[in-house]
């Protein structure tokens, strides 16, 4: 499978703020990729760089075989949905459909009308009068009508209630299923439970850096949580990497990236789920020094 997205040491600096530094990620074709990270980690910046709406200050980015550019042919292949649902509040859904027909080389108006009819969303009411969930569905349907090859969704379900979220993700996965492997999706969100159901690939960003990038199933199989008595981990660290450690006076809970089988009988090993994995990496980058300090302090 060829890679739809490939970045190499990508970075983006605004005057004094570094939004992204040294990002190297790969997303293969026809994946649904989760983009996770705390607020301000750089998720929106990364998505905009991929969509060609911002230009990098360092490194390289390659999307669909070329650098993102302000070129109608490239823009037609990308479906970018910004966080604040970008619709004209006083225009109706039908207006937006007609606008899309004028502005895009490929436009499947029928699919939008069918989708919205299935969801009972009226086409002739001003979009500003629809609920948040309905607006998100309209925006998604319009984005899909372009028949893009890559969908970039910036926190599309953030403002939706659980039912609206379920419907939105259902529509999204249905579109992926219909596309027969042609559609790749990158979606950013905070709701790990949703992402775990829907995504098969993950990019984890914290503090403008990439902590994880890869196939979810593989990553989960490569990590384990080891719970055991508090002791020195240098022997363990010869073959495995301790990603994050929580130490009390007597006990250690370690998130470990395993380099082979774990032989130490003192530890009880268990599998990780996506939430534990993500929290572990996020916790590790947030306060690695602090964890060590507590360890030393309590030792003395």
């Amino acid at each position: 499978m060829s890679a739809v997205i490939e970045t190499h040491e990508l970075s983006k600096r605004y005057r004094r703020v570094t939004a992204l530094s040294d990002c190297s990620v790969t997303v293969p074709e026809s994946r649904i990729c989760a983009l996770i990270g705390p607020n301000g980690a750089g998720k929106t910046t990364l998505l905009r760089l991929l969509a060609g709406l911002a230009r990098p200050t360092g490194g390289a980015v390659c999307v669909l075989g070329g650098a993102p550019r302000q070129d109608p042919a490239f823009l037609a292949e990308i479906g970018y949905l910004a966080q604040e649902i970008p619709l004209y509040r006083r225009l109706t859904a039908e207006d937006h459909i007609r606008a899309g027909a004028h502005l895009n080389p490929r436009w499947d108006a029928v699919s939008v009308r069918t989708r919205l009819a299935d969801l009972n969303i009226p086409l002739d009411r001003a979009v500003g009068t629809l609920s948040g969930g309905q607006r998100a569905q309209v925006a998604l349907a319009l984005t899909l009508a372009k028949r893009p090859r890559l969908l970039l969704l910036d926190e599309p379900v953030a403002a939706l209630d659980p039912l609206a979220r379920r419907h939105f993700l259902g529509s999204l996965t249905a579109a992926v299923a219909e596309s027969g492997g042609e559609l790749t999706v990158v979606l950013s969100s905070h709701l790990i439970a949703d992402l775990e159901r829907v995504c098969d690939h993950i990019i984890l960003l914290t503090e403008s850096r990439v902590q994880l990038c890869g196939d979810i199933e593989t990553l989960l199989s490569e990590h384990k949580v080891l719970v055991g008595p508090r002791k020195d981990t240098s022997a363990l660290e010869r073959t495995h990497t301790v990603v994050h450690a929580v130490r009390t006076a007597r006990q250690s809970t370690l998130l470990v990236r395993v380099g082979g089988p774990v032989f130490d009988p003192a530890y009880e090993a268990s599998d990780v789920d996506l939430e534990e994995l993500v929290l572990g990496y996020m916790g590790a980058s947030a306060a690695p020094a602090l964890a060590h300090l507590t360890a030393v302090g309590e030792e003395q």
Binding site: I32, G170, T173, A174, A177, E196, R197, C199, D200
Partner: protein, 136 residues
């Protein structure tokens, strides 16, 4: 038509949940031979899981011989999982219900009942295995 449920918290991988639900539906008689399974698109639209999950489940079921994919038409039920005839479940279910009522009246709570069931299952499989070894 069967409708699926995927429980993210159950610890069972989603694709396996779908496989189990199809098998259960077949056992219970909700699905019979010749019925069409919902398309991948229909499943994900309702359940919101990755399409590959459903594809994997259907492939597993196909490998087990329970379903077959007919090109251009969909996925259809081909056979039933090996096991007792459909009536067995309801019959055993009823006697189990009686036992559970008795256990509750004796003062067992749900947790004790479950743990008793687990211990019994384990002991019974061990006995079954050793029986099979003897026979073999």
């Amino acid at each position: 038509m069967i409708s699926f449920r995927v429980d993210g918290r159950s610890g069972v991988p989603p694709y396996l949940q779908i496989v189990q639900q199809v098998r259960q539906a077949l056992r219970m008689g909700v699905l019979s031979v010749g019925d069409q399974l919902p398309t991948v698109r229909e499943v994900v639209a309702e359940v919101a899981v990755n399409p590959n999950t459903v594809l994997k489940a259907y492939r597993d079921l196909e490998r087990e011989g329970l379903v077959e994919a007919r090109a251009g038409q969909g996925t259809f039920v081909r056979g039933r999982p090996p096991g007792p005839p459909p009536g067995t479940h309801s019959r055993l279910g009823r006697s189990l219900a009686r036992w559970v009522r008795e256990a509750r009246q004796a003062g067992l709570d749900d947790e004790s009942i479950e743990s008793l069931l687990r211990v019994t299952l384990r002991a019974d499989s061990a006995a079954w295995d050793s029986d099979s070894e003897e026979i073999a």
